[in-house]
């Protein structure tokens, strides 16, 4: 078989119009040089290298391991077909297939990209992020919480007296957690309370004022402790920002990801949890209450208080806790199964002290 090619000898840029005759043993390239002298060059097919990427209507090859490299370029359709059909190492069958029906290939590839993107965004990233949050060492979790706390508290006015009393109350509670708990009361009209990873809980004064009993307070603390112990905060941050970082990295903007993370520290106090995480926190909170021999009805009562407030105003704390009605129902049900409890007098005493401080 022989085909039309352009031959370059690697010494000058002269284009030699040549014929290449191929066989399994060698490729013979024949052309006439400047002095009309016929020249024939032989290539070992094993040493022929594909010079470039798939381009329609063009093939080019280089030859040899040492400089200068000889090269042929050809747009001879017969040669292109011959290469595509019989030289696997010189052409990629996947590329040939993809370029055969272009429209279909593009649709197929785009669907592939969208599929991988969705799978990563909704499944792989959250799984990896949650896994990462679960395996992070305790010290790192605490350090991170401290960092966020430092940034957030610059805008908060703490009620030192109430904080101290609340801390005494929490210390008195029987909570066998991994993280040392530190609680704070912040002066604010907002009906909010939030937990930070590593053991910090901030309760806003207006919410504390609405709480009537130590059981309700314990329900709130128990719920927040659950978020801390189960690393909900960290898992949530990892999930939320994993997606953002994924998108940033995808578009090659690593700096952007860092900026997003740093700029949004304030949002950490207002993260919304999924319903399943909230339920997990409620059940865990009830367990803590049970450990402390407290009437579990404190939990549904707390929700009732919050529900009432919803009609007046939509506080952040509530808007992030969907299906309050459901939560009242299932906590009530669990509470109804509780055997009669004796009064926890120590906690009652500490609770009264808090009441006086706010």
């Amino acid at each position: 078989m022989s085909f039309d090619v352009h031959f370059f000898d690697g010494k000058t840029s002269r284009t030699h119009k040549a014929r290449v005759t191929t066989s399994s043993v060698n490729w013979k390239i024949a052309y006439t040089d400047e002095g009309s002298i016929p020249i024939e060059i032989s290539w070992n097919p094993q040493k022929v290298k594909k010079a470039d990427v798939y381009t329609k209507g063009l093939v080019s090859f280089t030859y040899g391991d040492s400089f200068p490299f000889q090269k042929i370029e050809s747009s001879d359709e017969d040669f292109i077909n011959y290469i595509h059909n019989s030289h696997e190492h010189l052409s990629s069958s996947i590329d040939i297939l993809l370029h055969k029906s272009k429209g279909k290939s593009i649709v197929f590839l785009l669907l592939g990209i969208v599929g991988i993107g969705l799978l990563s965004y909704f499944y792989i990233i959250p799984t990896v992020a949650t896994g990462f949050a679960s395996t992070l060492s305790e010290k790192n979790v605490i350090d991170f919480g401290d960092y966020v706390f430092r940034v957030i508290t610059t805008d908060l006015e703490m009620n030192e007296e109430a904080s101290k009393k609340l801390q005494i109350f929490v210390d008195e509670m029987d909570i066998n957690g991994t993280f040392p708990l530190e609680v704070f009361v912040a002066e604010s009209d907002e009906m909010n309370a939030f937990a930070l990873s590593g053991g910090k809980i901030v309760v806003f004064s207006s919410l504390l004022e609405k709480i009537k009993t130590k059981e309700q307070l314990s329900a709130l603390i128990g719920h927040e402790v659950s978020h801390i112990e189960n690393r909900h905060v960290l898992k949530n941050i990892a999930r939320n920002f994993g997606g953002t970082i994924f998108v940033s990295v995808l578009f090659g903007d690593i700096n952007g990801a860092t900026t997003v993370l740093m700029d949004n520290v304030h949002l950490f106090s207002q993260l919304s949890f999924t319903r399943s995480l909230e339920k997990e926190a409620d059940i865990f909170g009830l367990d803590i209450m049970r450990e402390n021999k407290l009437d579990l009805n404190g939990m549904p009562e707390l929700f009732e208080i919050l529900k009432k407030e919803i009609a007046v105003d939509v506080p952040t704390y509530l808007s992030n806790h969907p299906m309050l009605k459901d939560r009242i129902e299932y906590t009530k049900k669990i509470a109804s199964e509780q055997e009669k409890v004796s009064e926890n007098e120590v906690l009652e005493f500490k609770w009264q002290a808090i009441k006086e401080a706010i």
Binding site: H6, F8, D9, G10, K11, T12, S13, R14, T15, E34, G35, S36, A51, D52, V53, Y54, T55, K56, L58, S60, T62, F67, P68, F69, Q70, K71, E73, L98, H99, K102, G103, S105, I106, L109, L110, G112, I113, I116, G117, S120, D143, V249, L250, G252
Partner: protein
């Protein structure tokens, strides 16, 4: 004319030889003439949007599936496509880089940056003021110092891996020399609050071009910093006055400045590059590119890339005097370190 000679007539034989030689020379000469007359000295970009889209999307998928590890191969394949689609005198350009080389470069860059970031984060978490300030200082100093090496490495690697008609490019610049040129430029730019920046850019370009070879051809850039400064200054003033519309003229001026001041020297003769791009052309390019990107949510990116390259080469001309068949191969610089090229990629800075 060749006549039949009697056996012993030497004079006749010699005459015939000369006549034959004349004919051959004439034929050859005619061939050259015909080749020269059909020869096109404008560069053409022949890439197709749909064809490139397949390559582009295929590489995105492979990069995603490999968690980014495939990126070097993807980058090389896409660059190879653009080179192979660029034609001059009926021959295509070739890019000989390999994914392996580029990957090795990336590993180097990532190791350096992981160490650097590790050091930075370690220093920040100590909360020690002196430590923090010096760590940030060292971090930025390192980035400033590494850039000239990256540019040098990138230009050398790209040149070494680029060829046309089998003739390779080669960069002969000296790393230390370029480093000092760069440091001088950075310092003067800082001291003059950025004004020197135009001269700095021109100095770098002059240095790089004067050390660039293509076989036995050499390059030259003779733009002046003052001209670039005026172009930039006009842009700053007129951008706001014209509510941004001046951008198209600015872009045209910039391209003209860079292209029209570039020349090739072949056997002592200077051959110039030229572009006849108009502001209207720039407007058309950017306006349609913008529409394509916005209305397809970015899917049109490969078509936009092809349009842009096609646009750029459509207006790029080389003066007729370039003898594209007489370029001699010079020595070859087998430089396989792609780290510089990768670092510029890391900084989102592309060489053209």
């Amino acid at each position: 004319m060749v006549v039949k000679c009697t056996e012993n007539n030497d004079t006749c034989k010699t005459r015939n030889k000369i006549a034959l030689l004349n004919v051959t020379t004439k034929i050859e000469f005619m061939e050259i003439i015909s080749e020269r007359s059909t020869q096109k000295t404008s560069l053409k970009y022949l890439g197709g949007g749909t064809e490139f889209a397949i390559i582009f999307f295929k590489n995105i998928i492979l990069t995603l599936l490999s968690l980014g590890l495939y990126y070097p191969w993807a980058k090389v394949e896409m660059l190879k496509y653009h080179y192979q689609s660029t034609e001059l005198d009926q021959a295509r350009f070739s890019f000989h880089a390999t994914g392996k080389e580029v990957f090795r470069g990336f590993i180097k860059i990532y190791v350096i940056f992981i160490l650097l970031y590790g050091f930075l984060f370690y220093a920040l978490q100590t909360q020690n003021q002196v430590m923090m300030v010096s760590a940030i200082g060292i971090f930025y100093l390192f980035i400033i110092l590494i850039v000239p090496f990256a540019i040098h490495g990138a230009v050398r690697y790209r040149s070494s891996r680029s060829s046309w008609k089998g003739i390779h490019f080669k960069y002969l610049g000296d790393r230390t020399e370029f480093f000092w040129l760069y440091m001088k430029g950075v310092l003067l730019t800082i001291l003059t609050l950025g004004i020197y920046g135009a001269w700095f850019q021109v100095d770098m370009r002059k240095y790089i071009f004067s050390h660039l070879r293509f076989g036995n051809l050499s390059f030259n850039f003779k733009g002046e910093g003052a001209d670039l400064f005026v172009i930039n200054l006009k842009f700053i003033i007129l951008f706001y006055l014209t509510l941004g519309i001046y951008s198209f003229w600015f872009y045209r001026n910039l391209v003209r400045f860079y292209v029209d001041n570039t020349s090739i020297t072949q056997n002592g003769k200077e051959v110039k590059f030229k572009t006849n791009m108009q502001a209207g052309d720039v407007f058309e390019l950017l306006f349609i590119n913008g529409l394509l990107i916005v209305f397809t949510l970015g899917i049109a990116t490969p078509w936009v890339t092809v349009r842009t390259l096609n646009f750029f080469f459509r207006f790029l001309e080389i003066e007729d005097d370039l003898d594209t068949n007489a370029i001699q191969q010079a020595s070859y610089d087998d430089y396989d370190d792609a780290a510089g090229d990768d670092l510029l990629d890391f900084f989102d800075f592309d060489l053209l």
